[in-house]
């Protein structure tokens, strides 16, 4: 089995490291231990974000602000690990991104929206799969250990460590 690729330091990874450091400083145990939905709930309580699980057709999660109230929706049909990734993904949007940006989505391919998505996916996958838990694991072992798809395991393996 192929071991998880450890990428070398490069300028392109600097923003990823800054992002992870920001969340490590604000979330207890972030990128040290695997976060849970209970952890997410506590974080959201502190920021008065209401977490709602409801069945959705395709979307994994939605971060939404309505008249000053913040909501974090998670698709209740997802598996446990997928809910954690989706939950922390949306938490990243709510705490670090301007939701007003979404009104520009219709213009298509706007570069900063893609950047938001990548950043949120980094936070989601690292929340579930912290660095220490990945040490020496192959992609297949990551998939088995955390119950995630190959796509998610490969994305996580490709991040700076």
């Amino acid at each position: 089995m192929m071991p998880v690729i450890e990428r070398s330091r490069s300028a392109s990874l600097v923003p990823d490291r800054l992002l992870l450091e920001q969340f490590r400083l604000t979330i207890d145990g972030f990128n040290v231990r695997s976060q849970s939905l209970n952890d997410l709930g506590r974080l959201c309580d502190e920021l008065e974000i209401e977490v709602v699980q409801m069945p959705l057709r395709r979307l994994h999660g939605v971060a939404l602000e309505d008249d000053g109230y913040k909501y974090l929706y998670i698709n209740s049909r997802l598996s446990g690990p997928e809910k954690v990734i989706a939950g922390f993904h949306e938490y990243c949007h709510l705490t670090s991104h301007s939701l007003e940006m979404s009104i520009l989505k219709s213009t298509g391919g706007l570069w900063n929206l893609q950047k938001y998505e990548r950043q949120a996916q980094i936070i989601g996958t690292v929340a579930l799969m912290p660095d220490p838990a990945l040490s020496g694991l192959s992609i297949e072992e990551v998939m088995q250990e955390f119950g995630v798809s190959r796509q998610i395991a490969e994305f996580r393996a490709g991040l700076a460590r």
């Binding site: 409801m54 994994h60 939605v62 909501y71 997802l78 979404s102 298509g108 949120a120």
Partner: protein
């Protein structure tokens, strides 16, 4: 556009480490200021409808796939967003006007 770029880059102070000038990318995508000005946004619609900006619910939705959705899948996404927005509106209304 320039303001938005600066705003996003300031979040993680990435201006010095990432592409400093994306004008060629924006041009290639057709995302010029003239193009953006020609596209009415939800915000424009809200303003036209006389709704204050604060009541426009903003959102970011994630499908977890990170790939372009088919027309059918896009329709599902639109329905999901509509369901979520309705649910959020009801929750906000209950918070604003709590029952007896």
């Amino acid at each position: 556009m320039k303001q938005l770029q600066v705003l996003v880059e300031n979040v993680y102070e990435t201006a010095a480490t990432e592409l400093p000038d994306l004008s060629h990318v924006k041009e290639a995508l057709g995302v010029t200021s003239a193009f953006l000005a020609s596209k009415p946004t939800h915000l424009d619609a809200a303003v036209r409808a006389g709704r204050p900006r604060a009541q426009l619910n903003a959102f970011l939705a994630s499908d977890g796939y990170g790939e372009r959705a088919s027309e059918r899948e896009s329709k599902k996404q639109e329905l999901d967003i509509e369901d979520v927005r309705n649910d959020a509106r009801n929750r906000t209304k209950q918070k604003r006007e709590p029952g007896p």
